[in-house]
């Protein structure tokens, strides 16, 4: 890898090096955003964590997919941080990096002498991204969490779902995806700040806070309206009202659904026309957006009596042709054949280290001048030892061998 290839001028982060200790989901998804735009991301991996989700020897097929999806385009080295030589190499890499990233529990980086205060003397303008469940300060700094724990603790679990069933919460680790986006944003902001001021800094990302930021007005509402605040599950209806129909409606076939949202009166009229001007649509209860919202139970039953006669794709097509927002609740299989995602190249096939084609997601934005580039899947475990040790650090054969004998790469 070098910075002089012609295509690299189309990468916004060419020349930026990230020493990446992150693992599992949130951290790697943050640094994948950076590597897509040309940052050289060096994953520091360990023999002790080969089979975790997204690890180099992921135990399941889905874990392998996540390995590629969150680590495409990165480099991999193996360092045994239990040896002084391993720690020494990490410190030398800090000196030649722009960003250090980690999402361990709070005691790990200090135990290696790699917390922000310890590495700043090595590289005063270093930017360090620490991602954790609750942040590295405050009374809960040592609490442990998974994405699902944070979703529960932030209220997302209790608030997501229908009022008359158990809450469901998000289906997956929304917390990790949100933390990953916040981590990437923080690094980009810090890079801009450094470009202007020359100063590096420590980024203390609390995924609990990242999630809480997405509760919209909940905190304001509770602080002003207290017990009268809207604070319970509302299924697929908007908690503060507005229009109707607004929900997922069953269609022909097994577990097939279409989401429909109608707000303005013109949209309602268009919806009624597409549905064949059924008798129920003239009901006074459905005359205005406000009354449709108030009588949503009755309305939903009528709407579903219509959608159930059609395939979900057909409902979407008919309503969209009339200017009404409607879309299939797409499954994994649906997404893989979605003509829109196909036309936009959302799924990309890239070769892994053995030349096998792997499917990954693209960045969900297109930049006209710096479109970014992903040309390979996740690296093989420790695939880039030679480049990193010999070229980047200038270590001699003897030095590398001594470190190997000391177990620094085990």
């Amino acid at each position: 890898m070098n910075g002089n290839e012609p295509h690299q001028k189309h990468l916004a982060l060419r020349g930026i090096r990230v020493l990446d200790f992150t693992w599992i989901h949130a951290g790697p998804s943050a640094t994948r955003i950076l590597s897509d735009q040309g940052a050289e991301v060096i994953k520091v991996e360990s023999n002790n964590a080969l089979s975790v989700v997204g690890g180099p020897a992921s135990a399941t097929a889905r874990g392998l997919g996540q390995r590629h999806n969150w680590n495409a385009g990165k480099l991999s080295i193996s360092l045994n941080m239990k040896t002084p030589q391993g720690i020494d190499i990490a410190r030398r890499l800090v000196a030649v990096s722009d960003v250090v990233s980690e999402n361990f529990s709070g005691r790990v980086m200090p135990s290696w002498g790699l917390d922000y205060d310890s590495i700043r003397p090595i590289n005063p303008s270093i930017i360090m991204l620490s991602m954790s469940g609750f942040g590295r300060t405050g009374p809960w700094k040592d609490r442990v969490s998974y994405g699902q724990t944070l979703q529960a603790w932030s209220g997302f679990t209790e608030l997501t779902g229908f009022p008359d069933t158990d809450p469901s919460g998000p289906a997956s680790a929304y917390s990790d995806a949100v933390g990953g986006m916040a981590g990437a944003q923080a690094v980009l902001l810090a890079l801009m700040h450094r470009a202007r001021t020359g100063r590096g800094q420590w980024l203390d990302v609390s995924q609990f806070e990242s999630l809480t930021s997405l509760l919209e007005t909940l905190v304001l509402d509770m602080s002003v309206n207290g017990a009268d605040a809207v604070s319970t599950r509302s299924g697929n209806r908007l908690p503060h009202g507005g229009g109707g129909p607004h929900g997922a409606y069953r269609c022909l076939g097994e577990d097939r659904w279409v989401a429909i949202s109608v707000f303005a009166d013109e949209e309602w009229q268009a919806f009624v026309d597409v549905a064949g001007v059924p008798e129920w649509a003239a009901d006074q209860r459905f005359a205005t957006a406000e009354s449709r919202c108030r009588n949503a139970d009755a309305l939903d039953a009528f709407v579903e009596s219509w959608t159930m006669q059609h395939a979900a794709e057909d409902v979407m097509g008919m309503l969209q042709a009339a200017g009404v927002a409607a879309g299939v609740a797409q499954t994994g299989a649906d997404l893989s054949r979605d003509p829109q995602l196909k036309a936009r190249g959302f799924f990309r096939r890239v070769p892994d280290h053995q030349g096998e084609q792997r499917t990954i997601e693209s960045a969900p934005y297109k930049l006209s001048r710096t479109p970014g580039s992903v040309t390979s899947g996740a690296p093989a475990f420790a695939a880039d030892m030679t480049y990193v040790l010999r070229e980047l650090l200038g270590m001699s054969d003897d030095e590398v061998e001594d470190c190997a004998i000391a177990g620094a790469f085990d």
Partner: protein, 413 residues
């Protein structure tokens, strides 16, 4: 705190101070503008003379709509400025164009082709302002067969593949609390804008950014695409039993608690506690030793036992036991438990803002990240319609007082 009366943003202590953003976004992008404003950008919202329709979105202070009472508006427009312009008049449209050319970033959420149709497309603006970063968020992107399709938050959440898997097998596919498709699109657009601004800082070049809300959601599901692309199976709804009983939430004595048995020790600690309560059944047998057993053929049997046991204990007992043994266990908090949260207050994430005009004080959440070298206070409450007409139209565009009055119909700000 009370908000200091600042009208200039000359200080460069925040990463985006000194950048001007023209925020023409609707609900899909309003959070993106807030994120930039909170990091120091001079974000100017352009509203029609009567005020932005988002001012009519609840919740409202004391449950009553009216000027300054929409907390939706107040939350999503902190630190922004507001001008009112009637862009259907030639003078208003010309002023908007001048404002766009005086900006570093333009953020918009119009349907594909709309901005071109009013003479404010990227190509025409970039011809005069090559450094402009121009970001468009649309439901499905600027290209492709669905480019003209409409989508609300709900519809994009469905089309992005997150809705089908959220909820229980017996419920319809379910949206998340809050308009998370909108906010995910905003989050992704913000990343793209920061990339473009960093590139501009290095090269002086601006560029066009095309964000698809559907793709933003599809890239955020964690498991939907990797499951299908690597196993050929579509992931299904399983409520809060994420990944089987391995990472799961359970009904307990006073609500719900998240009990993740991600390690052998977590599983051993759980079944030993159940055993002490006399509720472990046969789970202490060696055939249940591997914590991956929770994903296997015995999962229904184990679920039944764990479920009966969990009802004996409160969220606090479960959390206390789990955390003191370093397991990621915690309560499902209810909405009224967020505001008093000691960690959010302890880190200064929540801020009480006193009203300046006799209204109630209000607690605002902070930003999704903490930059320790860049303090991020709320510098300015969400603006009233046209609050900054004079300072923007005169101060930035150089209109005379007479011209401002003529443009906005009456003197304001």
């Amino acid at each position: 705190m009370t908000i200091p009366d600042t009208t200039s943003d000359s200080d460069l202590s925040l990463p985006l101070s000194g950048y001007r953003v023209l925020d023409l976004a609707g609900p899909m992008g309003v959070y993106c503008g807030k994120l930039m404003a909170d990091m120091g950008a001079d974000v100017i919202r352009v509203e029609p003379p009567g005020g932005d329709p988002m001012r009519e979105v609840g919740p409202f202070i004391d449950g009553e709509s009216g000027p300054g009472r929409s907390m939706y508006w107040l939350h999503f427009n902190t630190n922004k400025r507001s001008v009112t312009l009637d862009t259907s008049t030639p003078e208003g449209a010309a002023a908007l164009r001048r404002l766009a050319l005086a900006s570093d970033v333009l953020l918009e959420t119009g349907a594909p082709g709309h901005m071109d149709s009013i003479g404010l497309g990227y190509e025409t603006l970039a011809a005069d302002s090559p450094g402009l970063v121009y970001a468009s968020i649309t439901p499905f992107g600027q290209t492709g067969p669905y480019r003209d399709f409409k989508a609300s938050d709900l519809v994009a959440f469905a089309m992005g593949g997150y809705m089908y898997v959220t909820g229980w097998p017996q419920t319809p596919p379910t949206r998340l609390w809050g308009s998370q498709a909108y906010h995910t699109a905003s989050n992704r657009a913000y990343i793209a804008i920061l990339l473009a601004l960093f590139h501009r800082g290095m090269t002086g070049e601006g560029q066009y950014i095309d964000v698809s809300m559907q793709e933003a959601v599809a890239a955020t599901t964690e498991h939907v695409n990797t499951t299908y692309n690597y196993t050929g199976e579509s992931a299904v709804r399983c409520g809060f039993r994420h990944g089987g009983q391995f990472v799961a939430t359970w009904p307990c004595k006073d609500g719900y608690a998240s009990i993740t048995t991600n390690t052998r020790k977590a599983w051993d600690d759980l079944r030993a506690w159940m055993d002490r309560d006399g509720m472990a059944g046969d789970l202490m047998d060696a055939e249940y030793d591997d914590h991956f057993v929770l994903r296997g053929e015995h999962s229904a049997h184990i679920e039944d036992l764990v479920q009966r046991w969990a009802m004996l204990h409160t969220r606090e007992e479960i959390t206390e036991f789990g955390q003191s043994n370093h397991h990621p266990w915690g309560p499902a908090a209810t909405a009224d438990e967020i505001l008093p949260n000691e960690q959010l207050w302890g880190r200064g994430y929540l801020t009480t803002v006193e009203s300046e005009d006799g209204g109630p004080s209000m607690v605002y959440p902070g930003d999704p990240y903490r930059l320790t070298d860049c303090p991020q206070p709320i510098r300015r409450a969400a603006p009233a319609p046209g609050e900054h007409n004079a300072e923007v139209l005169s101060g930035i565009l150089g209109f005379s007082v007479d011209e401002v009055v003529r443009l906005i119909g009456r003197e304001q700000g």
